[in-house]
Symmetry: C2
């Protein structure tokens, strides 16, 4: 079968290659791929800056934002042929750390996890793949078009869960949310904020394309200039990783603000920071800044619930390009008015 | 009666002045002062850099780390003459914010609180003061010598409460603690870490004086060189406010680390920071950095319990100088081997 693979650590050695059928050891469920979402991590892997092949392999099949249909499922698995499923990305080490051992592999303490399509395990950008039932999540059949948004939604579901658990360390009644970056993570984070009844503002530098209307249709406010952003956000979800913006949003917020960093930025981007003022502001205002990555099974369930509540046509509009697998080079090229680009593996 | 007062905003206008007896409006409990602890905030107020006089007053009686004995207590207050008491520092605004309204004035949302000896209310460095029963905390008579450590202990009790509540947003089993700065806040933070059965390391630049032995006697490890500090702390309590150290400890720690900032630093201390690396590390390691200030009544109760569990002679050694009120200038001068300096108001 065909799969989209890279040679990790080497730039632009990405190609469709003929690979063996997925081995039974990958899991009891055989799944035919429908679609795979592309994100910044995939582009980093293709650029040779990230990613790790499975032990003994010279290549890594990429793709971690999956959507597939079950083809074979043993009877005792809880799944049946035809089920729409998404694969959980991260797997604990066979000798799990204390957190992995209780299913919180997103909070792995020692970094010895693996990740489908990213770190040590082949991904989902192939015609078929296998899943262990414990790492498959069944979706409502109604999510046939948008289920590929599950994985990014799990990332923001975890971010919101942690935001709220951290906020509730004391009395907490947040009102305003600032989301920086109107990519898929930013827009889905904004959606979860609106679902919670909060007043959401989204900052992005792009003035044209679909983003302003997507934000407006959500019932949130779109803003392209930091000077126009409210300075009293109780919650900030930073989705750009842009250093100057990271510094800015850690300081421009309400007392007791909780700032969640979700963007993965490049190293070596130095900024002159008034650390005295930053530290004093953090202390005197009881501010919190935290990072959030990945998701565990609970967040997949939260994400499925959030997608089920959302407006289906709004979700469909997040997928701004659907590209056949054979034209993967088009999909990997980032365009200014892209929100989510999806590889149609089935096509 | 005599009181130690400043003219807020003016440097070194600190003097003992004759002031009227505390007015009944200050509270039903009349308290004779025994001791007042001096901290960095007092020195900032004396330097004219912080502090606010009560409305209509030209001076501010300082002192917020109190210890006193009740002289008069109406019958229905729950207090009796002879009770050892400490006054809670912060008061909500008469029109409280949502947090102040539920007793969490330490998490005030709008900054319209007042603070005894700091912001808009006279402090405790006077022969007598009054307390509202709701803002008085009775101490065990055994804390006659060390009860003056209550207020700084409440600050670390809150820091630890928030550390643990934030840590428990996910599976959490911390082992190692790094405390930076072996002043009273750092040593008390280390004490609370040891009481929790954690492995505690304390970093301070001072090599002589009482600090190394105080840390050793606690069962913690003392370190004077950042290069020797473990890089896998699950919990960091930063008590120096020193910008380069703040940056360092936000990055040198374990996965899922929770870093609590407690030091109040001066503005305008810029440092070149690799914000790309900081942000990426925060995200990929699920790190948290938060600030903590002040304390509410619950933290006074937690602090009283922590002091009761502590070794009394160790606590006594934290008070490295006791200075009679008349010699307040000596007390305000910081010496290298000071830990806690206390004004003996009774003397």
């Amino acid at each position: 079968m065909q799969a989209l693979a890279v040679v990790p650590g080497q730039a632009d050695l990405v190609e469709l290659r003929e690979v063996p059928e997925p081995p039974a050891a990958d899991g009891a469920l055989l799944v035919e791929a429908l679609a795979v979402g592309i994100c910044g991590t995939d582009r980093e892997i293709v650029a040779g800056e990230y990613g790790e092949a499975p032990p003994g392999a010279d290549h890594l099949v990429i793709g971690h934002e999956s959507l597939g249909r079950v083809v074979e499922a043993p009877q005792d698995t809880g799944f049946a042929p035809g089920d729409l499923v998404v694969g959980i990305v991260r797997r604990p080490d066979p000798e799990p750390c204390a957190n992995c051992a209780v299913g919180e592999w997103d909070m792995c303490r020692n970094g010895r996890y693996t990740e489908r399509g990213i770190k040590g395990l082949h991904g989902f950008a192939s015609e078929r793949f296998r899943l262990e039932p414990g790492f498959a999540v069944r979706l409502d059949p109604g999510l046939r078009r948008t289920g590929v948004l599950m994985e990014p939604t799990t990332v923001v579901a975890k971010a919101w869960e942690h935001l709220e658990r951290i906020g509730r360390r004391a009395a907490w009644s947040p009102r305003r949310v600032l989301v920086t970056g109107a990519g898929p993570i930013g827009l889905l984070a904004a959606m979860l904020g609106v679902q919670r009844g909060l007043d959401v503002q989204v900052l992005d530098r792009v003035e044209n394309g679909p983003k302003p209307q997507l934000v407006a249709d959500l019932g949130a406010r779109y803003c392209t200039d930091l000077a126009d952003v409210d300075t009293d956000a109780d919650i900030v979800v930073e989705c750009t990783g842009a250093p100057s913006l990271v510094v800015e949003v850690m300081e421009r917020n309400a007392h007791n603000a909780v700032v969640c960093l979700t963007g993965v930025s490049a190293l070596g981007r130095s900024v002159e920071v008034d650390v005295g003022a930053f530290n004093r502001g953090m202390v005197l205002q009881n501010d919190v800044v935290f990072g959030s990555v990945n998701a565990n099974r609970r967040h997949y369930e939260q994400a499925a619930a959030a997608l089920a509540r959302a407006d289906a046509s709004w979700l469909e509009r997040l997928v701004t390009r659907r590209v056949p697998l054979a034209e993967f080079r088009d999909a990997l090229e980032h365009r200014d008015d892209d929100v989510k680009v999806v590889l149609d593996v089935e096509a």
